[in-house]
Symmetry: C2
Subunit: 259 residues, 2 copies
């Protein structure tokens, strides 16, 4: 799994729409074969001064349209620092075909939570691992395609989304040079093992009172990273309460390592 | 204990030396009755534009002279942000009279560590609590005296030092509006209880692999703070390995709350 070759060169990148935002950021929708995505480039990005790229991870299941306000806010923030950003539709989200196995696991999860039963490793594995297995090669294909654009260049970062996806990508993809991860989703046991193989700088955000998240699992994950530079930033509040200064600190983390 | 009145107005502040540093920071040594201290004010501090003050805590036992290089570096950094800073000699350090009880506790601590025995709550209490009991009123006396200077004004912060001292001070002293604490010293059980009464913003630094420090105790302390805004930043490395970006983040924390 960790020796997975990068995607085949037959992946086709097609731009479908192009829209300049009011702050000069150019928003382009694309498809990468059958996976839709969005690319945001700052006005400053040009072939003579290409912008480094940050891949914006997404939570599982919500999809780009529901996540759009938060994604575009992150894209605009990153653009002010000179970064291009891109996201792709997660497996099973938006108009993409659903995974019956993941749907069953999600139903089992809801049932366990409603009954006050513990969320078993088995449920977490069935919910998260197929998503990781499918999403990581799609992100790698994105990395084959987007940096071919003349206005994009330099090291690549990965930010947010399902933490197990970011861990696998950081472990297997040498083009990712810095990972900003949000410890706000379930961590399969296998992800802890993969984290030991991560050696790039990581910046981990944790919401201390995240309703649906196991704090100790997040601390164990942070402990597991093999990186010689790693930072955990925990803030008071629930899953959606990440304070503005935490986002700014994450931005400075990427600026330190990618600019 | 927590209703301790502020120091009596009979405390006498006497400046003993005055030395401008090369970056325009003015370093003044003082005594507050029999406690020596150092005050650093930025060149920008003047009666028409007084500088807010950050109190620089110290570890127990080393003393101002041995800590001077690190203290003056923090003072210079804070001055570039417009802050005045001050420190006072900790009880039992420098030329101040030693506390035989604290010395015995330190000997017991060394013996326990050398023998590979656990450091008991009793040792921690005897080592830390008398220091807290003595240091906190001295810091409060400092707060009575220094803001009387016309070039100092505005809210006050407390930064670093023995964490139990910072916790008590944050809990009992309403003039302290933000506390940046270093979870790198033993935490008495009583300190956990005092942390629940802290309601000001706190920024806690933790070195993840601090040799002489209990990581779980630091996490429990962070959890205990009653503040509605609190951040834990943990970085890879040992006690003295705090990365430069962590100091910058702590600086931004004070700027957010005091400027």
């Amino acid at each position: 799994m960790h020796a997975t070759p990068s995607s085949t060169p037959s992946t086709t990148l097609t731009f479908t729409t192009e829209q300049p935002l009011d702050d000069g950021v150019l928003e382009r929708r694309f498809t990468l074969d059958d996976v839709p995505g969005v690319l945001w480039t700052p006005a400053t990005a040009m072939p003579s001064d290409p912008a480094p790229l940050i891949l914006l991870g997404q939570p599982g299941g919500l999809g780009t349209e529901r996540m759009y306000p938060r994604l575009v806010a992150r894209a605009r923030g990153a653009a002010t620092e000179g970064f291009a950003t891109a996201t792709i539709e997660p497996p099973g989200a938006g108009d993409r075909p659903r995974d019956p196995g993941a749907d069953r696991a999600r139903a089992d999860l809801r049932e366990a939570l409603a009954a006050g039963r513990p969320v078993t490793d088995d449920i977490v594995d069935r919910l998260i691992l197929p998503l990781v297995d499918q999403a990581v090669p799609e992100w790698r294909a994105t990395l084959d395609a987007l940096p071919e654009l003349p206005e994009i260049g330099g090291p690549v970062g990965f930010s947010g989304g399902v933490v197990a996806v970011g861990v696998r990508l950081a472990a297997v993809e040498p083009r990712i040079r810095a990972a900003g991860l949000f410890a706000g989703s379930y961590v399969p046991r296998a992800t802890l093992e993969e984290a030991r193989r991560v050696t790039i700088p990581v910046h981990v955000l944790l919401q201390w009172d995240d309703e649906g998240n196991d704090r100790q699992a997040a601390l164990d994950l942070f402990d597991a990273f093999g990186s010689t530079e790693k930072t955990l930033q925990a803030n008071l509040g629930g899953h959606t309460g990440v304070p503005a200064h935490a986002a700014e600190d994450a931005g400075r983390f990427f600026a330190r390592h990618l600019l």
